[in-house]
Subunit: 291 residues, 2 copies
């Protein structure tokens, strides 16, 4: 009955935490953002897998009852391995995003956008193609979207231009559903939706993931009981859900960016030394070799 | 008489290596790019210092005779410390950039652009202000320039727009000299120079650093003798200068990006496990504590 652990390459995963908090208001959460090594989306599969294992191990060492991989790139490259390595449920954002897109498409092509790593992994494309056939799937990497969202240029002519540059082939293909396959992209939702045809449904992995997390908790009997009000006057108020933020670096624009992604200010954050995160990862790897 | 070690947060430092190769064609070089943890420019001082120490220690363990900190952000936060920690000369890019700008200014304001870390460290501004006074110094952080250069959008309307957005205050201040205080920015030189007044001198830290490296080698008697042609027919050809590339990650767009920054294709690259880099850093830290 511990907290739910959520990790991401950096602060983008706060959009996922935001959806989880809305959906599961009685749960405790620990968020870990690997801000010292962000981004993951441009980096190779082997590197992303090593980082993701360390991030998950750090959360697991805090006694979490479930691990949410908020980062699409880490979900693409490391989810299977993490599910084998950890004894708690490990959820990624890709499968829920695919399911939502399949539920919303009206027979037209389905588009997916993401980082270079996520798109080159082919995970979204394979999952979609298994159901609708490869001919109905369109994928695009949009590498500038992450820095644009991080810089807060959500409504800026530069962003309009980048959106047009990346999304024109998807608009021309008349996709009826578009998966925002990166935690940063919901911040650009308005600019994306202005550029696409009005009938294109935008699928936000964060919302889809929160639904999947609620189902998993229920199935495994891991739901934290709702906090009851004090029974009698004078009785201590019950503890409110706890929210802890850990980062491997406190970046220059942390306060602004954090509030932008989470939708409210982050009151306090703790910095974890990268050595500790790596050490947690090494222990898991060794235990696995020993087993 | 070992090779010269050059490190950078990633591949931007290849613009520095390119200048070094032109200036010191008889020297051997080892380049290390910390592509697994790139970028440094958005990250905090403590994180950058820890990474820089590890990078330098990795090069030092290969027996280099000099260490060049090609990354402006690492130079800003870690140079003093590295110079104390390593027994070989350690050169950064900031001091040479300042000297060149001071030699080229014609009495007008001097501008400097760089990453958030470099600009917020205040190193360029302090060095310039000591000579010309703070009133003549203008600084701007240009966070989108790194992803634009990495994506190869060197001549693209998005880049034109970002250049105008960041540099307008510097153009309006009529700076007569502008320091490109990030290894990525020389790739955007044409777009920058089109936007600024034609008489503005652009100072490329890479060129300035190569000159400083040549002077340091000469002063310390570390110059590698020029390779002589074979004396007699049948004699083995002398070994040509060696060039080794080490990266902590092989990113998705390595081949294109590498050639763009170095100005020629990179024939072979070796991937070093991040564990080894961290281990090298730990040894230096422990030795220092023990000393």
């Amino acid at each position: 009955m511990g907290p739910i652990g959520v990790f991401d390459s950096g602060m983008g995963g706060l959009t996922v935490l935001r959806a989880l908090l809305r959906r599961l208001p009685d749960e405790d959460f620990i968020y870990f953002g690997d801000t010292a090594r962000v981004p993951y989306g441009t980096k190779g599969a082997r590197t992303v897998r090593a980082f993701a294992r360390q991030d998950a191990a750090f959360l697991h060492a805090q006694g979490v009852k479930m691990i949410v991989v908020a980062c699409n790139t880490a979900s693409a490259f490391a989810l299977d391995e993490l599910q084998q390595e950890f004894p708690v449920p490990v959820l990624g954002v890709i499968e829920p995003g695919i399911e939502t897109a399949l539920a919303r498409t009206r027979g037209g092509p389905i588009g997916v956008i993401g980082t270079s790593g996520t798109i080159r992994s082919g995970k979204y494309q394979e999952g979609l193609a298994r159901v609708v056939g490869a001919a109905r799937v369109r994928a695009r990497e949009c590498p500038l979207f992450v820095p644009l969202a991080e810089e807060g240029l959500t409504e800026h002519p530069i962003t309009e231009m980048a959106v047009a540059e990346y999304l024109l082939p998807l608009r021309e293909a008349r996709v009826d559903t578009l998966i925002l396959g990166c935690t940063h992209y919901p911040l650009l939702k308005r600019a994306i939706s202005r550029f696409m045809e009005p009938e294109t449904a935008l699928v936000d992995s964060a919302e889809a993931l929160a639904g999947a997390a609620a189902r998993t908790l229920a199935e495994r009997g891991l739901v934290r009981p709702a906090v009851a009000p004090p029974v009698a006057a004078g009785e201590a108020a019950p503890a409110r859900p706890q929210l802890e933020f850990w980062l491997s670096d406190v970046p220059w624009k942390f306060a602004e960016a954090g509030a932008r992604f989470l939708g409210r200010p982050i009151e306090s954050v703790r910095q974890v030394n990268l050595d500790e995160v790596e050490q947690a990862g090494r222990l898991v790897r060794e235990q696995r070799r020993g087993a």
